[in-house]
Subunit: 370 residues, 2 copies
């Protein structure tokens, strides 16, 4: 598919315009074959590098392709190509409304949007708090003979080992959300968590003289080995330390599954520290404190959170939060899947290997059409 543009100027009409024919116009594989003086089969072999073509004919064909600006009609390709591609997504199990549900949506939409070849998706889950469950889930994957695997990198050792297995089986893999740098992944899509933390800190403190901040964290299960939120938190904390060296950071811990306890913890803290007006939560669940915020309105208070979960957006809309730092979560998994599939199916390298997606600043005032 390619576009040609011709520019015509009709000066006496004082009107000018551009016409472009988009889409597989012009040249077909047949045209190329004729120009190169070979058969369509040969052209096909050259285009996809299937080998078994002499250097000389390859040259001829290449030249013809260039001359005609040929590129295969993707519709005809995927019609003729009945190959099926199986992609396995290995992600944390999750409940409705949680972060990983959004990621999953992106995968599914991405798979649906692929038009070259028939794509199957197999989504496998593991327990984020349990490295063993990751190992169990990952072990079943090679037997499925997938064309590719997409996963996130929770448990460093276990993921590295799995990646090695995949490589041994010549199965390409991609990371989404986070990655392990020294592995041989095809591509990665995610945000820079450190920067996003710093951005949140900036939004919380800009144009203010900040003396104290409440940073609210989650009590993680003791089984929970990983701390996937650390880079973002560090970005946040480092920003504060650099820009407000005298600022006191109060860290409070709340339990994600105990709302009454959370309410009490917060009420108690803010009763003791009424001067603290800046509040942040660097994980994705700032909605957990929404109940406290709505029951204890304070027009001077500024709260900043992260990630566009449904519940966070609601909290933002109600005015309990000032800013949410995020990106369209499904977009990163959508792009990851479609790009990865393109690379795998067409056998090409990705345009870019490490893709950091843009961070959005969300405020009540620009929330409407998100």
């Amino acid at each position: 598919m390619h576009a040609t543009a011709k520019l015509d100027k009709f000066s006496q009409l004082s009107t000018f315009f551009v016409t472009l024919d988009v889409i597989h116009n012009a040249a077909t594989i047949f045209d190329v074959a004729r120009l190169a003086g070979v058969s369509r089969g040969t052209v096909d072999r050259v285009v996809y590098g299937r080998g078994r073509v002499s250097q000389k004919t390859q040259e001829k064909v290449r030249k013809a392709i260039e001359q005609l600006g040929y590129s295969a009609n993707p519709n005809a390709s995927s019609l003729a190509n009945r190959k099926e591609y199986l992609f396995v997504c290995l992600i944390p199990e999750h409940k409705k409304g949680e972060y990983w549900e959004e990621i999953e949506k992106g995968f599914i939409e991405g798979a649906k949007s692929i038009l070259f070849g028939a794509v199957r998706l197999d989504i496998r889950y593991y327990d984020q708090t349990d490295a063993e469950s990751f190992v169990r889930a990952s072990r079943e994957i090679p037997a499925l003979h997938p064309s590719g695997v997409i996963l996130n990198a929770v448990f460093k050792d276990e993921v590295s080992e799995f990646a090695a297995t995949l490589s041994d089986n010549a199965i390409p893999y991609a990371f989404v959300d986070n990655k392990i740098d020294d592995l041989d992944y095809t591509l990665y899509y995610g945000v820079d968590p450190y920067k996003s933390g710093a951005l949140g800190a900036f939004l919380l403190t800009t144009r203010c003289q900040v003396r104290e901040i409440a940073l609210i964290r989650l009590i993680r299960d003791s089984r929970h080995k990983a701390d996937p939120n650390a880079p973002r938190r560090h970005g946040f904390v480092d920003y504060i330390e650099e820009n407000f060296p005298d600022c006191v950071l109060h860290t409070l811990f709340i339990h994600p599954d105990r709302p009454e306890e959370t309410l009490r913890t917060l009420e108690q803290f803010f009763a003791q520290h009424p001067q603290v007006k800046h509040v942040a939560m660097t994980n994705s669940r700032v909605w957990l404190i929404d109940e406290y915020l709505s029951k204890n309105p304070d027009s001077e208070r500024i709260v900043v959170g992260f990630d566009d979960l449904e519940k966070n957006l609601e909290s933002l809309k109600k005015g309990h939060l000032e800013y949410l730092v995020t990106r369209h979560i499904p977009q990163q998994s959508f792009k990851a899947l479609t790009e990865f599939a393109r690379c795998v199916i067409k056998g090409t390298a990705p345009q870019r290997r490490n893709n950091y997606v843009h961070m959005d600043i969300l405020h009540r005032r620009n929330l409407d059409d998100y």
Copy 2:
């Protein structure tokens, strides 16, 4: 194309997964034909309501379709369907780097991305400052017999008249960027300019006690009848008046093509009013004041602009601007074209008629991957 999902739980493995087959699996038109006891041609007629099919066979076919969950393979469709669609885009002529260039990019990319049917794009230009040129350009369009026309609404009367002509010729049309409410357009994509103005005002003034603001405007050619920027400016001004009733708004005019004059105007103004620290420009060319800003650094000054033109982004990156209120400009025209084409080609109504796209808040800190 449709997706089926089956959920299997292997509890003893403490692993569960979801498989979904995306894309034209299962039933083909042949299967439907066989089940209904008719030919493929008949099925086709039913599916697309081309008429000339008896009620009875229609029933049979419908039932078979339902039973098999049939839906046409889009690849095969557009392969067999050699119809060409011509879309005409009618937009202001522009120079490199200007707003409308970005819009144009979106159209072109959108056309390229369409995979159903072959699409041709014909981009026509007119002079924004000259209603007559719009009339001239628009008059040539019906003769092209386009499948659809996309335009923006600059000159109310002239556009309305053209729209009527299109309707008379049964040519559907869509608006991008701005619209005229009471016309019969198929769909519209744009931002709410009033809201974006208010958002800019908010970002300029949040957490500040603002007493004076410099609002910089463009000297428009006297021929320039339209004031396309008015709604955004009103959003800005109204916000300020509501929230800072005592704030003084200084309006300065600069000429878009006279940089030295601009520099002088600004230097003179700020020499006389050194206390003014808040500056805004509600049109898309805040880069015009970049030279002044870089030559007269002031850490207390806050500048807010609009639209992600290359030059504005540069100015933001260099730290001369604090915030830019924008959206991916090409995205709105991309979406407008693809959605419009879908509606026209498939003969369906748009999902939504008026589409307001999300406004991004851009700051030096979230600019990297935009």
